[in-house]
């Protein structure tokens, strides 16, 4: 940086961190905020869980920053209602789907789930996402669907992630698409701290 006084104000300037979250292959899904694990059998049709990655609460550093990116909403729909998105045939489990809870508009938590319509509403500016149809936008200022977290069930019956998200979560930014193709599917890549 040309001007160290300004240069040092931005931390390490590594904005690629936007594109990585704590989720890894095999990370178990845990309840927010107490961190108890979730079994597929706990998730009845119509229910919704606010989820954090297992181990988040034990982080020594950057816990809030990680939480701000990793929070997920888990819901189970009647599999007949669920429109599986092309290329994501094995991302859900028996009607259970997981989507990032960070709004693709400007980043509020999308916290209000309406069971009847399968709509997920962001209270900040009312972007509405259809969980039954790939969390696509049905109303409001957001343009992109919420990123989906691919999930599976492990031998003990716990719900686990198959990998990190396949695209940066949350609001858009200039180089978002560059980051998307940046080895994200490589689940061995650590979060950069």
């Amino acid at each position: 940086m040309l001007f160290p006084q300004i240069g040092n104000m931005g931390g390490d300037w590594n904005t690629k961190k936007f594109a990585h979250t704590m989720w890894r292959k095999g990370t178990r899904l845990a309840r927010d905020p107490d961190g108890t694990l979730i079994k597929a059998s706990d998730v009845t049709i119509g229910s919704a869980f606010h989820v954090i990655p297992d181990g988040l609460n034990e982080l020594e550093h950057h816990r809030i920053e990680e939480k701000a990116k990793a929070v997920v909403l888990l819901v189970r729909l009647d599999p007949r209602d669920l429109k599986i998105q092309p290329g994501r045939e094995d991302w859900s489990f028996d009607g259970i789907v997981a989507y990032s809870k960070i709004c693709t508009h400007v980043g509020c938590p999308v916290a209000l789930y309406e069971q009847q319509t399968h709509h997920l509403l962001c209270p900040c500016h009312q972007s509405t996402f259809d969980v039954a149809d790939g969390a696509k936008v049905v109303f409001g200022p957001a343009k992109r669907p919420l990123p989906q977290l691919p999930i599976a069930v492990d031998d003990e019956g716990y719900i686990v992630a198959q990998s990190d998200f396949h695209e940066p979560i949350g609001p858009s930014y200039w180089t978002r698409l560059k980051h998307t193709s940046d080895g994200l599917n490589d689940s061995s890549e650590g979060s950069s701290h």
């Binding site: 931390g11 701000a68 508009h105 343009k143 609001p171």
Partner: protein, 540 residues
Amino acid sequence: MGARLDSAASGTANWVDERTSIGSFVKFIARKVFPDHWSFMLGEIALYSFIVLLISGVFLTAFFVPSMGFVTYDGPLETMQGVEMSEAFASTLHMSFEVPGGLLMRQIHHWAALLFTAAIVTHMARVFFTGAFRKPRELNWLVGFTLMILSLAAGFSGYSLPDDVLSGNGLRIIEGVTRSIPILGEYISYWIFGGEFPGEIIIPRLFTMHILLVPGLILGLIALHLFLVFLHKHTQYPGPGRTHKNVVGLPLFPVYTAKAGGFFFVVFGVIALVAAVFTINPVWNYGPYDPSPVSAGTQPDWYILFVDGALRLMPGWLFDVIPMEWELWGYTLSWNILIPAVIVPGLFFGFLAFYPWIEAWATGDRGEKHVLDRPRNVPVRTGLGVALIIFYVILVLEGANDIIATLFHLSLNDLTLFLRVGIFVLPVLGFLITRRICFGLQRKDRELVLHGKETGRIVRHEHGEYIEVHEPLTEHERWILVSYDDIAPLEIAPEYNERGVRRKGYRWDRFKQRLSRFYFEHRVSPVTPEELESASHAHH
């Protein structure tokens, strides 16, 4: 009375003079004359609420801890027992529940902030509608405009300090908006937050901004603002003997000083009363910042609502088919955020900042204006002002759309759809209707001047005709109704001179002419002495 005032002023001047020898200066200031009108109080309210902010704010700094380090709560509040929170949030709870008078001070500070911003906005509206921004006061309009922007910065930075769920989400929205800026957005975000959101530095940074940088700038600019008011002398409403070359009013000392000093305590008292009775920002109900929870029906402070409303109003897809976020050559451009949060506020505030020049081009008048306009006598300006207010109010309403929808049992989506159309239609309608009303009022004024007031007394003439007796206006009343500028649209030199050579600057002149026609094509001229003369002959 005049003599007593004089001796009060000179007495004080003497006392100071014998000790400092600046008596003549003091006397000069004390004899400074201020015109009187209730609407001149709005700026004063802003000033006094700022003083209240300074006093209460200094108290808050004694207890507030601007740190994002984590602590576990073990204070007296049952619901927060054992909850992890930042020191900023914990100290806000401590101040609210353990420091005697602490909650009251927080409430006073917050209510004063709400009043401060409200007073600034209404003061600005007064200056706008009366034309007080015209030459030579354009510069002071700009100073005032900057103060308005700074008051928003002060409010937002203060609101964010307690580090609760609500203000944290507000900061996250700012972060999201920052990211949408082309090319630099993600770096500006890192620059503001010292890395990824939220980081650990934003509260200390906002604290410094809030208690040092912004109030310092405000203080300096207020001094400049008042100095310029002094230098230019205060404007006055039209009235007998009031011209662009004099000021009619009461002396600063002792009359104005006494009034103003008393008024400060009225403002302080009202703020304290409201703060003692109405809860504001009960952060203990929201909880410390956590990126996961959020609830519906939570609004930012009123002065930020318009941005939130703009963000809500903007669709992500136009007519469900045209995306408002573009992906061009692998880069992302988010119009759905840039338009409501950057471009529209930029144009809105830009228009306000430069308004004095826009109007000066339209009138082509280079003279100094010390007598205020009655809003009806400048129909286009008044119409524009109303249109701007309607535009702003629609954004504010949209910012509270969830509350309005619940309150009136409306569909949230329908309300938003209605306002999406309304934001284009209603300001235009407001402009047209207001201009119409102004013309109507001006014609009414002409009637009054020419034919006098209706008295309600009916007289029957010998030949059987009934007429209502009209009473002519007094000199005083007539003065107010006829003394305004009758401005004709600009005439400009032709595009080509007699030798057929194109004139430099023609386009600029033509732009000014168009603007001028927009303002003055339709107008109602004041009654001339000749008209008055012939009307009075017709009556007798």
